[in-house]
Each structure stands twice: as structure tokens, then as C-alpha cells.
Symmetry: D2
Subunit: 400 residues, 4 copies
């Protein structure tokens, strides 16, 4: 009788994801990783794209799947990747986002000033200890300290398996078909030259398409006006809850979240305590808190929370220029009319700036390998201008 | 300048769902309906199919979309459907599942003994009052009290827009491509004969396929052994939490859920109170409660809750016969060995029976319309046996 | 610089098909195989499904792709398949349909009485000679003379890679989504037990679905009334052309086809001559002949050819019983009214019988492997009746 | 009993295409239109993308389908389109490509110096006569002589239903997923402003994506080096065949093609004769001719024809600069070595230039409608550079 040596995960994007039994599967089964089942990949984008409820758990599995394919393609072209390196680069991509908390963007602005990439390293180091050092090589690759740079580039670069999967996956679950990329074509065209990841000449149009897809997904999904408005409202709710907590007002919230709300800016908890607490947090805590806060006596907390629950969101406008002070003043007055004179000034309008750069030629550019052995950056050899400009836009949001 | 008269919802399954401004959109914007954004369509199936996180909100919109197509097809064949009837049947399908609570199956077994269809009517009646009687006709159609039976059959029958959408949608988000049905082909073949919904002869193979897809989705998804095991564990956790609450033990839970946990079997709250409380409940409450309970001193609550959080699930076996008492005893002893002698007897093993019947010829059968005007039930005119048997299976689940 | 060791074929069904350089690629490049580019997989089905123009060339590549996956899955479960066996079974599936001529069904009835499977062996033997015996093992597997029966079953059985690909591919190009099968799920569930191909227990619903998909594709596509009508008309045109040729009437046709039209039933050409001539024939010849014949002075040739060109097809009716002689007489008289009294009697009506059996339990059944090591046929362990009946229908077609 | 008022065409791209009975269906049934069933949309691209066998027939139906959607969207926004205008614009899109011959690009270079757009008008006028003037309005719209310019723009502009369908369809059948466009999103965003077609602001990223998809499909599919090489070889074969014919050498070919081969440059046949002859030509004639020519005593005809049949194609190189004369001379010598000294000089190398401009801002630009009523061209309001440059490349092809 045959016995499967792999565990198979169901995935509507790729069909099946096959994970060999062993270290990778043990990592997946760990509570740190299982926690990613409760953290959505695209935060609040489901207010615009109701299907976008997929999680970082699924994304990490998907990126692992693409990594397995990339390894196979590179090996078939004669690139040496040992078994240990293959496992390590797979572990690195599996764990690349493990430091994400719930609604990272809002959380990082309002509650903890820790970036998810730093936290990912903390998690990896904690797991490395737990697994007796078996993640050493994975951490070296993740941190770009390994002597084969292409392995790091597969995990974290301008053409890495992370981006490849999230563009695919976010397109799939949002239904924004235009974000679809030719990931299989790109992966088939990957090669290694002087230790660096390159793309064979024939893949050049697919790369162009990949860059435009990324740009499109930013403005159509990640920075969609409704998504940004919702995220700003959540940031405000969290910010307010913390401010009240620190002033000694009792704010109801699940224990995992309460700990962070009550942590003053001066306290610096030991890293291991912080990590343990952080590992308890997920979307459920934020969701449950919003439900409590919707009935809060505090008008700010009440307004933003019930607005998020019932999808009564602020209207957001983009502008390529800073907003005219007169216009801003007019909208502020309208907000006062809606929210009442007692509503704190700082929460009347939601303002800020968002930027996106589809591709940076200056920093670790995407390299094209020609048949004659030449290598040049895509910016230098594409016959159209690439989307290298940093596009920034100002936003102003106010109650409807 | 053109002004859109519709609001467009993004849907990866159908592309776009277009809802005319007016009553339908007002219903969608109502908190009762927005609440469905927080209730997953397939409960805990995401433990097996990580993409299956889609909600009853999205399903209701999808079913509405198919209803709009069905109306257009029928009208194009000369079937009279007035504007009022069209709006009403659309309202009815939109609200057909509004009575669902979080994880209905588990909840109905452990907490409240109210079926979601009954609750849907309650919700509709409450909304009807709020909207000044504008849902009268929708309720009449939903309750099969209208003189054009085909309208009710489009909402609730063996070939209704509900089933059509959930098979499509659940297939899409699980990735079980075999559940895909030819919904567009079937809808194009719908017709009305003597006031009843029928399918034109050419659609007969699509109907056969629809029935097998339904059967397949039951056993492959809804009754997948891991899904049933998880649901049983959740039922036990909720059941235990309520038992403890009623014994006076303090059980932490979000307010919306706590109210139900503390409601004794003898108390019969007024319908409007019950409805108001029920309308507060969603998946978030259950998720947050599980997180609290994972650290509970009660071993049952702790075991099932942490098991669900970290995906350490019971192993479940199916059997076409009742399990042999000797085998059952053996598994019970194994469970004791794992869970300890203090673990209450009633939670050691999870047992029960599940059934599925893909199609019932006896009750409101699917009717086929032949070119010569004859109508007969699909069971009578298919040249293969249909899946009419009631398939029942016993299950036994125990800790790994 | 990396050098690809594979050639990649584009395929909308599977994305990419990767063929290792070497024997397989040399076979693909051979004119015998390139000829399959000019032979449509589903003959005249494009009259009903305008997208169904895909060729046997593409199907053979697709089946090869699935075979590569099956080999990988089986090896991952510990089934020994040597490199030589893997190449041979890949060659066997690549060449399994190489004996097909244009519109095989019509051709075999009207022109040459040789079945495509016999011709496939002839082609393989000719290629084996040309390639210095390198196809010996492939032929042994194809002919079921090799001591590992599962290899033959992968090429030709009730669950072989041929069926798997054509159901997928024909679904894709026709757009009959209901024919979609869970081929990846099924392949992942393949195993070997006592040298025979089996399917793991978890795949049982996918197999049921595969069988119904096959049944559906037969009646919805391959035996669609318009497809059968067109095929009958082509059979008549070819039959008439040959009859005229043998009577000495000059019938214009491309040289490759003319040779066959002029071959009398008594002549038995040497196998190598026949093969060489047959290898010249493809859809182009039939298409060009029809264009010539549309202007023929012979009314039969003219009628059927111009009907096929301009899609003025006979109307076809199916009946589960033989047609009533009175009805037949009535339709014959109508045909005379349309076609004129000089139209030969034998071409007035197109009549016959078609059958389909989705699955034969009696002959090489599909076997299911249970977790406890038991193996039983799917018919014995499915909890629903399978589609094992031979469904036969009579047809009668006449001019509109 | 219900009677369908539409005929339904199966389409894997859109599911179903529904055509109302009446003029549109009569046009589809006409032999002029049925002939498009035998003319492939992407000529010889199937040498690179084996699935790309779809026809101009299917494309025309698809464009009609999109037009029906566009009409519905515009009407729902209050744009007045009468029934007569709707039918006319549908006829115009259905017939927009009816003037295409087989492998138009090659044919127009080698055989007849008539552009397909001119021929489309000829066909429409002939049909108009046959249908008693019922195509007057369609022709006026097609020729941009109607007072509602947006109707013409839907048929023929930089964002017309023709481009929309062919990008979709060619992506689908080639499997180049990157060519996928958000056609449904774009169509939903169409509006009319001052009688001109515009796109609502929200559609701006979809338009950017549409332009890049078009650019990508040009270089990845239509101008793929293998496709261009094959097309050049076909051009040479046809050119040579005609040259031989005109010199009085007997060249075998189907009658429909032979007429054109024998037509000297001086003869100018009457338009109605030319049209009647042209309407006889399709891919079958070219395919059958190649099969005859593969055995021709003329080395040029033999070489190119057998090369196309057996897929032994020239190797083609692109260069942004004209090729260096020394390099050209070197490749010419290599060609002589392969082809022999008797091979005519003019057929040794295949040379030329191809260009593509994804979008022309200067000529009938795509206009964006802002919420505040402003309209500006996409070039003026996109925050990235558009693909407006004319990209030209030189090619040089030679035998392998």
C-alpha cells in the first residue's frame, strides 16, 4: 500500500499545494503559523471586494508553492541548489510574513511601533530555538547573509515569490482580473547569472505586465479610496481606544488587545514578552473590540466602530496636490455639522498621503539575461518607459 | 453627464453584481444585512479548504444576481413578471438566509433551538414593518402564498437560485472544481409551464450534473470528515460553556454571545427581544470566545477551544453501519488515555449521524419540458438512475 | 548562462507543457506527429461549439503532460518506475492517437475500414524502425505486454491520461463547463496495488464526477444532434464520392484523398504503402474536397458538401425506440419534396444508432484502495448507482 | 409552452452569446458570414500557441456580444439609443471584419492589394442590396457618417468592441493570461459625453491595463518571432506561386486560389467579380495548396511549403537597428550553404520591419469623464506615461 509523503492543501488559486512531511509541515502546524489563519491578507479591502477574505496563512502556503516551482525550474537549468538550501529557502518564504499582526497598517500606526519585517525575524529566531537550530540557514537567507544572493532574491526582491503570490491571490479573491500575472511564464524564465536572479529575454513582456499589474493592484485595491477610508477609521478607533486606556478610562476589549492598549509609550517590555503577547493577537480581537466599542459612551469610539460594523464609511478624495486650505475648512465645517460640536477636532477629518512605486530601477533592479549572455536591467532594455516614478497622492476623508 | 442608476458589487464568481438603487440597496445597507458580512457561508470548512472564508453576505448578493438573470430569461420567453413581482422575488432571494447565525449548525444544536428559516421570516417581518409594508409581496412569495408558484420555486425549490449560487460559490472558494455547475446553461433553459418552473429538454444533462455536483459537494466539503469533526468540537465547546454558565460558573465571552449562554431553557424571551439579541451575534463573537476559553481552567472548554484555534482536531471516521460497541469502547479508552480520567464522559467521543439526499423526486420534483409540450419529472425521463437515495453515515470522532 | 533542457509548449488548459529534449521531442518534430496539427480532436463539433477547433496534436501533448504528473505522484508514493519505463510510457501516451485520420468516424465508415488503434500500432512500429528500436518498450506497454500492468492502464484504461485530457480539453474549448473534471485531484489520488492502478479512497467522489462528466460530454458534445447530423452528411459525401470514383466518374479532390477514393474494395495495398498514403491525409484534404464538391453536377455530392460549407444541416431526432415506419415514411416523403424525385433513395434519410456507456464495471474496473489496505471496484463500494448502463438511441435525420 | 426568441451560441470565453432572431441571425446564416468559420483569427500563431485556432466567425460573435452589453450599460445611464440604432451598431460590429481573407497579412502582400477594411465595406454593400437596404444605417455608422459619433467609436476606435473581444479571445485561446483585460469593468464604465464615447474616472487603471495588454499581445503573440517567420514563409510561397503562374508554369492549387494566382497585375476585374471570387477563398485553399506545393519541383515552393507543413521554420531575429550589412552577408552565406546555390537570391533571407503603437493620443484619443463633469484625454490625466511610442523593429530570418 502506498503512503503519501506529502500533505496536500487545497487552494483555488493553484489547485493543490503539496508540502513534504518534515520541518516545513511542523512549522505550519505550529500555533505561531496557525495564527495566520486569523489574519486577513488584505485587511479591510473586503469592504470593496467582498471576496477578499483570504488570509496570510493561505498566502504563505501559496508563496511556498511558487518557491517549489522556482527551485525545480532553476535546477532543471543546471543551477545548483542543495537539499538543505532548498528546504531553507522554502522555510524562509513560508515564514516571511509571520510577523504580521491584524490590520498591520492601522496597528502599526496606532498601537505598536514595530514593523512586521522585524517581527518576522523575531518569530523566526524563536522558532529556530524551539526547533534546535534547524532554521539557521533559512534566517541567513532571509537576512541576505548567505553567499548565494539569488536565494534571498527569491524570498525578497522586486520579483520574489511573495509578490508573485500576492498579486495572483489578491486578484483571484477580489475578482480584479487585471491583476493577473503570468506567474508560471515568469517562473519558467527565471535563471541565475553570476549568483544573481535573472529573467531570460523571452520573459521581458511578462515582467512589464507584472509591474503594471502591481501598480494597478495598488490603486485599484490596496489604495482604493474606500479601503483607505476604512483603514483610517480603524486607525482612529484604535488610537482613541489607546488614548482613553492610557488616561485610565476603562475600554472593553479582548485580553490580547487590551494588553497593548494599556501599554504606555514609556514601557519597553522584554522582547520575549512582547513576542508572546503579539502572538496572541489577531483579527478576531480587533473585530470583537469594534463590536464592544460600537456601544461605547465615547462618541469617537462609537462613531468609528459602528461605522465600520455597518459599513457607513467616510467619503475619501484623492488629490495629486495638497488640499486647498479653504476646501479643507469647508469639509471640516461639514464634518462638525454631522458629528456635533463636541467631536474632538483631531478626528473630524482623516488626512494623509499614500505613495506607490511599481518598480525601483535604482535598488536591486530586475535583470534580463539575453541569449548572447549579456545581462542588463529591465529599465535599460525595455523599449517603453517603466513605471518607475513614485506616485504620491494626498487624501482627505470626511463623514457623508 | 451620465449618472449610474445601479451600485456595482465586485464578485470573483460572476464578475460584477449590479443592484438597482432603491429598496434592494436599502435592504443591503441595513445593519441586519451588513451583519451577514461577518457570518461565513461554510462555517468551519476553511480548516480543510483554506479559501472558504466567503460570507453569507456575498452568497445573498450572488443569488440575487442569478435571480436577475432568471427573470430576464423568463421574460424573454414571454412569461409575465411585473415590475413589482420582480422586485419582490429579488428581495425574497436577497433575504432568504438572513436568519442565519454564526456557525448555524453548531449554534442550533448547542445554544438556541431556532431554525434559520423561521428566523429569516422574523427578520423579513421586522424589516417589512420598518420599510412600511414594502416587503409584503416578498414575504408572500417566500412563504409560498403567492398565486404564481414559479416565483417561490425560484427562491426555494430543488433548483432555486440559492442552491445554484452556493454550489458555484462554494466550489470557487474551496477550489473543488468538480462542484462547478452549468448555472448559466440551466438558467437559459428555465421556462414556466402551467405556472410552475420547468427546464427545457436540452437542459437535462445539466440538471443531472447539477444533482451530482450537489451530492459531491456534500461529501467532499460540507460533510468532509475534518469539517464535521471541527463542527462537533465547536458544538461541544458551546454546549459546555452554556452548561457552566447555567450552573453559575463565570464564562468569559463577548456580550452578544454571553446573553445566549445565560439564557435558561425555561425563559422564553419576547420575540422582538430575541431577534434584537440574535441580530448582534456573528462569527466574531464565537471566535473571540474561543480565544478566551483556550485558557479556561475548565478542561473541556480549554481542550476544544485550543484545539480549534491551533487546528488540533479530533480524528473522525465514517461508517455506513452503527459502530461496533467493542470498537467504540476501545476508542473511548484511548480518549481517556489522552484526555485524562477527569474528562467528562459525555465529551470523550463525538458521535452522530449525517445524511444527504441529492434529489427528492417525491417532493416538488424538477420538471422537464419537452419540445412537444409534454412535461415530466426528471426522474421519469432521465435514462440513468438519479441520486435519489438518502445516504446516511454514522460518525465517531476521538482525539488523535 | 543557463540553458533550458526542455522545450515549452503553450497550452491554455494547463498553462505550460514541458517536454525534455531527447526522444520525446524528436517524435513530436516528426512529420507523422506534426500531421496531427491538421486533425481536429472533435471533428465537426465546431458546428455546435465554435471554439472546438483544437487538434489531436494538442491533445497528445496534454495527455503527455498528465502522464508526467502521474509518474511524479506515483514515484512520490514509493512506486518504482525506472527512467526507461517513464520515457516509454510517455512515448506511448504521446503516440496513442497517432493513427487517427481526418474525421475518423466518417472516414472509417465511408473510405477505409481500418480502426485508428490498429493504425496507431503501425505508426509506432514504423517510428520504432526509424528510431532504431527505441520504441520497443513503449509498444510493449501500449499493447499491454509489459509486466507492470499499471503502466498500460495509465495509457489505456477507464481512467487513463487520454480520457483525462480529452474531457478537460474538450470542456475547455467547447465551453461546456460541466465536463470539467478534477483531474489534478484524481491524479494526486492515484496509487499502485499489486501492480494495478488504483485510486485512494478519498478520490471516490472525484471518480463519480469523472464518470458523469464523461456521460455528459457524450450526449452534450460528441453525440449532440447537430454534430451527428453533420458527421452523417460528411459520411454520405465521402461515400458518394468514392462510389462515383469507382464507377469511373471524375471526382475532384486533393491528391492525398483521391488515392483513397479510387482504391477499390478488392485492392489490398501493402501495409507500408497504405501507411505512407494515410500519413498524407488530414482535415485539409476533406475541407478542400468539400469546397470542390459544393459545385459538383452530382446532386448528392453538391447537396451534402454545400450544406456542410454553409451550415445548412439536416435536422436530427433521437429516439429510444426504433422509429415508427409510418413516421419514417412521412419524413422520407418530406425529404423527396425538398430534394427532388431524382435524389437517390439511400441518401434521402440519414439513419442509425449511437450508444454510450459511461463506465463498464465488468471489464478492467476502476479500483479503490482503502486506508486499511482493502481494494474493491468502484461499483462495489460507491453508495450510489454508477452509470454502467449502455444507453443506446436511434437517430433519424432529414433536410429542413 | 415557451418559445425562445433568441439563438444561443456556445462560447468558452463568455459562456453564451444570445442573438435575437431577425436580421442579425440572417446575416450570420449567410454564406459570406459562414465563410468566416474557415478563416482563423490569428493566422499562423498556432505554430507558437497550438490552441490559437479560433476563427473570425467566433470573434465577430464575441464582439457582437460585447456590443449588446455596451448598449445595455449606456442605456441604463440614460443615453438614448433607439431600437434601429441598436440593431445597426450590432450589424456593424458583426460585419466589421467580413472583408478578411485567409492569412490576410500574407495574402495582401503577395496576392491581392486590397485592404480588408475596404473589402468589408464591399461585402456590407452587397449584403445591403440583398437585404433590401436594411443595412443602410449600419454602413453609415461603420463609415462614421452618422450623427452620433459614439456609435462609430464602439465599432471602430481605440476602445472598441473589436479590440476588446480580440484581446480577450486571443488571450483565452493562446493561454497568454497576461493579455486578459477587464472588459466587463471597462464596459461598465463606458458613458457618453457630448455625443462622444468616454470612460468614467474609476475605469482609468483598467484602461492603462488594456493598453499594456494590447502592447503585450502584439509582441508576445501577433509579432512573436516564430509567427512572423511563418508568415514570411507563407508570403514567399504565395508570391512564388503567383510569379510562376504568371510566367505560365502550371501551379496546382484549389480553384478559388488559382484564380487569384493567375490574375495579372494589369487586369482589373469588375468589383462584383472580384468580390464573388474573394468570397470563395478561405484557409482551406491555402492549406491545400501548401500540401500540393510541398512536392513541387520548384525548390522555393517546395522549401517553404514543406517547411510550413512539418514546422521546420526559419529562425528570426529582431533588432531595434537595421541589421549590420556584414552580419546580413554572413547569414546570407549560411542560407546559401543550406539551400544550395540555385536557390533564388530574393528568397534566401526574409527581411523587413514591424511596428506597434499601443495607443495614439493624437488621433481620436480615449477620453476620461470625471465626477465633476470634466473630460480629458487619458494621456493628459494618467499619472504614468502611456505606451504612445511607435515601437519599430527590424527582422532578419534565415534557415536553421
Amino acid at each position: 500500500m502506498s503512503i503519501a509523503r506529502h500533505k496536500i492543501f487545497n487552494d483555488p488559486v493553484y489547485g493543490f499545494i503539496s508540502v513534504p512531511k518534515g520541518l516545513l509541515l511542523q512549522l505550519i502546524d505550529h500555533p505561531y503559523f496557525q495564527r495566520l489563519r486569523r489574519i486577513r491578507q488584505t485587511g479591510l479591502a473586503h469592504y470593496v471586494y467582498p471576496g477578499a477574505l483570504h488570509t496570510r496563512f493561505h498566502h504563505a502556503l501559496g508563496a511556498l508553492h511558487l518557491m517549489q516551482q522556482a527551485i525545480e525550474v532553476l535546477r532543471s537549468k543546471g543551477v545548483e541548489i542543495t537539499e538543505a538550501e532548498a528546504e531553507a529557502v522554502c522555510c524562509a518564504i513560508l515564514l516571511h510574513d509571520i510577523g504580521h499582526g491584524p490590520y498591520s497598517h492601522a496597528l502599526e500606526h496606532a498601537i505598536i511601533d514595530l514593523h512586521h519585517e522585524e517581527l518576522s525575524v523575531w518569530f523566526m529566531e524563536a522558532l529556530n530555538q524551539e526547533f534546535g537550530g534547524r532554521l539557521e540557514l533559512a534566517i541567513a537567507i532571509f537576512s541576505n547573509r548567505y553567499h548565494k544572493p539569488f536565494l534571498h532574491q527569491l524570498v525578497s526582491g522586486q520579483l520574489d515569490m511573495d509578490r508573485m503570490d500576492y498579486l495572483n491571490r489578491d486578484s483571484f479573491f477580489t475578482g480584479v482580473s487585471e491583476g493577473v500575472i503570468g506567474y508560471d511564464r515568469i517562473i519558467k524564465m527565471l535563471a541565475v547569472h553570476d549568483g544573481e536572479l535573472v529573467v531570460e529575454e523571452k520573459g521581458i513582456y511578462s515582467i512589464e505586465k507584472f509591474l503594471i499589474a502591481r501598480r494597478l493592484m495598488y490603486w485599484q485595491v490596496y489604495l482604493h479610496k474606500t479601503n483607505v477610508a476604512a483603514e483610517q477609521m480603524l486607525t482612529c478607533a484604535l488610537h482613541r481606544a489607546r488614548a482613553l486606556s492610557l488616561m485610565g478610562v476603562k475600554v472593553e476589549a479582548p485580553a490580547a488587545l487590551r494588553w497593548f492598549l494599556e501599554l504606555s509609550a514609556e514601557e519597553v517590555p522584554a522582547r520575549e514578552i512582547l513576542l508572546r503577547r503579539f502572538a496572541q493577537l489577531d483579527d478576531t480581537d480587533v473585530g470583537a473590540a469594534l463590536k464592544e466599542w460600537a456601544g461605547s459612551p465615547d462618541p469617537v469610539l462609537q462613531r468609528f466602530s459602528s461605522g465600520l460594523l455597518d459599513r457607513r464609511l467616510y467619503r475619501l478624495e484623492w488629490s495629486t496636490e495638497p488640499f486647498d486650505p479653504a476646501y479643507r475648512a469647508k469639509m471640516r465645517d461639514k464634518a462638525v455639522a454631522v458629528l456635533g460640536p463636541a467631536f474632538p477636532e483631531e478626528y473630524l477629518l482623516l488626512e494623509g498621503k499614500e505613495s506607490n512605486q511599481a518598480y525601483q530601477e535604482s535598488k536591486e533592479p530586475i535583470r534580463i539575461l539575453f541569449k548572447d549572455g549579456r545581462v542588463c536591467t529591465i529599465g535599460a532594455c525595455s523599449d517603453v518607459p517603466l513605471y518607475t516614478q513614485l506616485v504620491s497622492k494626498y487624501f482627505l476623508a470626511y463623514p457623508k
